[in-house]
Symmetry: C2
Subunit: 249 residues, 2 copies
Amino acid sequence: MSLIVPPDHPRYYSLLYRERIVEKAKEGVVVLQGLIAHGRGEAFDYMMGERTTPAALKAEKAAVALLKLAKHPVISVNGNLAALVPREIVMLSKALNAPLEVNLFYRSEERAKRIADLLKAHGAEEVLWKPDAEIEGLSSERRKVTRRGIASADVVLVALEDGDRTEALKRVGKKVIAIDLNPFSRTARMADITIVDNVIRAIPNMIKFAEEMSEEECKRTLEDFDNSLNLRESAKYLKEWVQRMIEEL
Amino acid sequence: MSLIVPPDHPRYYSLLYRERIVEKAKEGVVVLQGLIAHGRGEAFDYMMGERTTPAALKAEKAAVALLKLAKHPVISVNGNLAALVPREIVMLSKALNAPLEVNLFYRSEERAKRIADLLKAHGAEEVLWKPDAEIEGLSSERRKVTRRGIASADVVLVALEDGDRTEALKRVGKKVIAIDLNPFSRTARMADITIVDNVIRAIPNMIKFAEEMSEEECKRTLEDFDNSLNLRESAKYLKEWVQRMIEEL
């Protein structure tokens, strides 16, 4: 089914990416539950005005600072992330010198490989997708990680995540950066840095920061960043949106 | 993939219906875009506390009153509604003496028939699904209706709807009752009566009202109902939820 949406339509990008993720579900990159999760994200994105808020931009900068100062940063990739921004996560991986690791809740060998192949088709030289280690205290398929990747990482970037895994990663001593449009989710509250933004905007912003920021600037940025304060700032945009919408009723 | 969720899990029903709609997507009743729409609904339901608010209950009662007093009420059914509450919409149809008509945005003959068959398997004696008329001023597949059903209806119940159709139905003089978890959607704002609730709770509540309410009570209920006021009341629950969540951050 093709979609004809003029680029000046106020919700152009939302509709475009909706079609993209549906295509990727047909190709077996995204599971059907992933489409439902995408819809939840759409709802929060719509309430945030489908834009990067000033708070989100600050969190994106702090996230890049933490990743750049890390000894062994890793970018965890699931089906939705790979479907939405395959080229961009490969670029971010290169800019940060951080490997990409496929990590799935609804894991199958076939799907993990398909996602790795998709990333390679978008320029990734290597993608970690064959687990040889486990994260303690996590029973889902998400426990399966690689020794060279998440198992030995000090900082992990996760997007479109479940709360259980963020909690487990924290418990084994990792710093977690989460991209989550719901500022109240367990993931958002447990992460060290939470980016309340759509990955379609967050990842490009992060690539830019990764290319620009010096070590000095990274250190200063992290000193000035307070995640709990930043989360509350993000949530205020949501509250203001609801307030404005009520006034229009 | 089977799901084992204990019934005392706080989000039991949400997770159960998530699996149900995924199953129905595999069977071709629900389209992939319908799964994304379900996710958007989940997000709003979560913000409303996954319960029928007092405002929603009032709207459900008023909706039944309007349907009972109608000359020719019709229940419009799409893939998601049929997937989530097939038995319940058949029961509501019988309790209201209102025919069921399949109306789809992503329409194919095959899917329309499959939905009709699903409803028949749940006890429907007749399901209107072969269009022989059109709603003016609507270009999507949703324009296709039946003469015996929506075309001649004075009141139409729509659930999980797009704004364009609600607008078109209003323009040709129908009264529209919408079930929509987003109190700010165009559908919610255009409908004569808007039920801001999950169909899994709204339809059972409506069956009960349909069985209980006398004509007298229907008239009184409608006299006392103000949709715009009711919508604002629903939206306030959302606002209060956001406020509470911010305080917990």
